[in-house]
Every structure is written in C-alpha cells, then in structure tokens.
Symmetry: C2
Subunit: 315 residues, 2 copies
C-alpha cells in the first residue's frame, strides 16, 4: 500500500511533465520564473485531523492560513494573498460564518495580505480549509535538495512545544499554568518564520519547515539532497515547559522530535558561513555524505531509529 | 441565515481590502496585472455533492479539473497548470490512487497543462478535490459586471443535457440508448469552452459560465451588471434528447434551465456586433435596464419566477 509520499513520487510527479515550476513536487512550493518569481503553496487543514474536533472556527480558519503561509518561509518568500476553499458542515450557522471571517481576518491583517478568491461548499463532513497562498521575493535556489556533506544543521527555535500543546488539548486536561497555555497557543496559532526565511535565504543551502516533526523533515531534506545527517539531542532546543514534561517522564525526547506542528525552520549552512547564523537559531548537527540519519542521545549514544518513528503521517 | 452569496458579499468581500486582483470576489477568477495577467480560479468538487456517491475516481478527478478550467473560459483565458488539493477517504487503496492519477492525467493532457503542486490528506469523509487553476491570455475587462441594456444575451450550446444526465445517474436507471449515454457524459465529462472564450473575448461585453443553471447565472450576471433581462424559452437551444424528455412530460423547461452543470458560456454582445456572434451560439434574449428577469414561455407569456427557482445552490 502506497503512502502519501509514494503516491506523489510514483504517480503525481509524472503529471508535472518535468515542468520546472512544479519542482518535481519535492518542495512544498511551486515557483514561477515567468510570473515575477511567484511562489505558490497549497495546504489543507481538516477539523479532527489537523486540529482537534470542535476547535473554535475562528482558530481553525486562522491556523489554516498561517500553516499555508509557513510554507513560504522555506523559500525566503513573503506572502501576497490567499485563496480559501472551504468545505463546511451542512449544519453551519451564521455564527460559524462570523467566526471563520474573524479568523481569516486576523491572519490576513497579521501578514498584510488579502483574500483573492476561493470557493465555498457545504458537505456532510467537518470543516475543511484548503488554502492556496501566493508569495514573492523568493530565492529559487532554495528548497530541500541542496544540503551537502559538512553543512551545519540548524533549527530556528524550540522543538516539541506544539506537540505538547496538542497533547494537552487532546487529553482535555484543564489548563491552569501559563506555560501550558503557551504550549497550546504554540499549536493553535503557528508563527510562520517569514522574517527569518528572508534573512537566511542568502546563505542557507536548504530549508524545510518542521510541520511533520523534526526527524521526519530532516529525513525529507536528507533524502531530497541525497545525503545523511548526524543529529545531537543535547543540542536540540527545548523550552522550559517541555523540559518539565521530559523531567517528569511524561514524554520523552523522541516524542518531541517526531511530534510535528512545530513550524520552525530546519536549515543547513555551509560551515564557512557559521558566523552568519541567526543568534536565535541552534546548530543541532551536521550533514554527512552517508545516506542515513544518526541520532545521538543526550549522553551521545546512537539511538536506533527506523522510518516508522520519523514522524506522524497525515496520510 | 446567510447563504453562500451573502457570506461572500457581506463577510468575505471586505477581506479583499479592495485589492483589484480579487475583483470584489464577484467573478469566478482573480486577475493579476502584475503577474503577466495571470488568472486564477479555485473550484472544489465533493463526492456526493457535486457528483454522485461512488462515481469512479478517475471520473471524479478528471471532472474536478475540467470544472475548474471552465471558469477560465469566462475571461477568454487558457489554462496553464493546476494545483490539486485532495482529501481522500481513510479507506483509500492503491487502486484509488491509480484511478485518481488516470483521471488527472486525462484532463491535463487534454488541455496540455501540468500539475504544479497540491496537497493530499486523508479524512473520514468522501473524496474532495479542490483545484486551483492558473490561466493566461485573459481579457481583464471581461467578467460578469459589464452587460448593458440592449445587449443581446447569447448561450454557447444546448441547456439542460447535463442536468438530465445527472438525473439518469441519480435514478440509477439502466441506460441503453446512445442519447442517454451522451447525456450522462455531458454531466460527467464537462467540455470547458476555452476556445470559444478566446474567440469571443474581444467582443462580448460580459461572460459567465453556466455551472449553476442558466437562470441562476443570468441572475448573477444581471445583478453584477445592475441590469435585467428578457429571456425567451423558445430561443433557448435544447438537444433532441432533451426535447424527447420535454415532450414526454418527464421534465419541464424550468427544470432544464435551472438544473446546472451545463458549463456552456452565457454572454452578452452589443447588438452592433451581432454579425460577430459565433455560428454555434444562440441568441436567447436581451439585457434591459429594468433590474428584473422576465422569462417568456414557449408561447411568449411571462412566467412568474422568483429567486428560489433561480437554480440549485451548493450552499
């Protein structure tokens, strides 16, 4: 049985007819040289799959846009506008439309972008937002296929907070601490790294956003670049809140680095450019020519990982 | 309770922040002057809503692309590429992926376009294809808001065949006649009027595609242009097959002109350009300044119509 990635690689990729714009479907974005370097990404958010059932529709619509915008960061691109295709439950009421509008409005204003079009349908299922986002100012040399041996592997911020926030939401634990509220907000309101993407686009050799978990995305980046990686857990940044959960043995490091929804950037930098690396970023390992991922534990032993622990798959 | 159109007009339109590209969300397409006159449309097809439950996935995926492509015809634009966001049932198998690929491939090859990107998700619902299509070569003066009094109202081909095809599919009648098979194919495999759109873009004053029924689309066109229309049923083209169903009293004229899914073009032409009108098109009425729609029966009596009979609403 094919998974999403096999379906894309084996069946859908040939439908690009090798057009450069599609980039072999290996990046999250398409790139149009002939349209003023337009960058386009499509991202679908489904209630009950990407966000817990019953989440406020204002959060759902806002998050759907933010998730799509996040893809642009990997090209150092800034968003211009979005198209919103929404499939809404048959039972949708006036208040639902108001909520959706409110959430979209927040995301649009935050990035100074506009709604350019879309489609509305009603169906028997839950809320689905399929967002097409346009961006400009990209570095088309970027993407996930140009990491090379010896490059430093860098992440833009703490890993696993969003995963923990989702766990808190799923377990319906009543949240009192500010730290836990922050974890939940990390999940519900992603903060696309657009500014950082613009900053690093001149010196990163490859960029990917960590929507499907650090380990999974590192795997994609390595596979597309035909390289491997050494990664050191001791160098991966975790928030104080995450460290508390780790110390309490409620979650382990593997949970956090495979959990997904971080929306941080994972990027690679030639070691000669080490001084250019952003102060808020963290070097967590290096690219190796051997096509495998070596994950080193907190006490520097290799952890046995296999593909199945590379992160959750939506598909 | 708001319907789709009120939601768009009252809530979503303000989110365009009056950017020209969005055209006030009143057309099916967005138009980007600054991106080589790129035209963009988004169209969602849901199994069980837009196409009967259980329809072959090769047909579903193909039809979804064709429906989206059809929107471009209203700008005289030709398709360049599509982005396909698909939400597929959890139970999807290898064979389903193959079918989807096969259908997409047919539509892409037919229009010499490519797959530029998209997104794949699995969910508890049925198959959903949300297509974003890019087009070029548009006439940006076109759209549905420039019809003026005295303009001739023209349709590009027979009305109601697709509606009858859908009825045949829904009633699960076993189909023997070639005519009935043709009706079904009219529904399942729309034939976007791209070539005609390119031909008439220089002289039509407004164009709309008849996806939601002739009467409903005429209503949109009139409303957006702030005019009205006289329409004569005797001048509306119906196929031989449709005439047989009419004569047998199985369906009436109102069924056919409100049924939807025709994907013919409805357009308006200044009477001074009457000689330019395409030979395969039919003049079915004229635009009037009075903002109402007068529908004349086969024996030229005004038929009392109200908004509720203007066509089905997906939303």
């Amino acid at each position: 049985m094919e998974n999403e990635f096999d379906f894309i690689k084996n069946k859908l990729k040939p439908l690009t007819f090798k057009k450069n714009e599609a980039r072999g479907l290996s990046d999250d974005c398409a790139y149009f040289d002939n349209l003023n370097d337009l960058v386009v990404s499509v991202d679908t958010s489904i209630e009950g799959i990407h966000i817990p059932l019953g989440t406020d529709l204002a959060i759902q619509s806002r998050r759907a846009v933010l998730r799509a915008v996040s893809d642009l960061a990997t090209f150092g691109s800034s968003p211009i506008c979005v198209f919103v295709a929404m499939s809404l439950p048959n039972s949708s009421q006036q208040i639902d439309f108001d909520k959706i509008t409110q959430g979209l409005r927040k995301a649009l204003i935050e990035y100074d972008i506009f709604l350019a079009g879309g489609d509305i349908t009603k169906h028997e299922g839950l809320a689905i937002f399929s967002i097409t986002v346009f961006g400009d100012g990209a570095n088309k040399e970027l993407g996930r296929n140009k990491a090379k041996a010896e490059d430093l592997i860098v992440v833009s911020g703490p890993i696993g907070d969003s995963f923990l926030g989702l766990e808190l939401l799923k377990n319906k634990i009543s949240i009192n601490s500010l730290e836990d509220k922050n974890l939940i907000n990390k999940f519900l309101i992603p903060d696309p790294k657009i500014q950082l993407g613009k900053k690093i686009k001149s010196y990163a050799t490859s960029i990917i956003d960590i929507s499907d978990g650090l380990l999974s995305e590192l795997h994609h980046l390595s596979e597309n670049s035909e390289v491997g990686a050494n990664i050191y857990i001791k160098d991966i940044p975790f928030s104080l809140a995450a460290n508390n959960y780790l110390e309490a043995n409620l979650y382990n490091y593997i949970d956090l680095i495979t959990g997904g929804d971080d929306y941080e950037l994972l990027y690679t930098v030639d070691p000669k450019n080490i001084d250019l690396i952003d102060d808020d970023s963290f070097i967590i390992g290096k690219i190796i020519s051997d096509k495998k991922i070596n994950l080193y534990s907190i006490d520097n032993n290799i952890i046995d990982i296999n593909n199945s622990s590379f992160g959750y798959k939506h598909f």
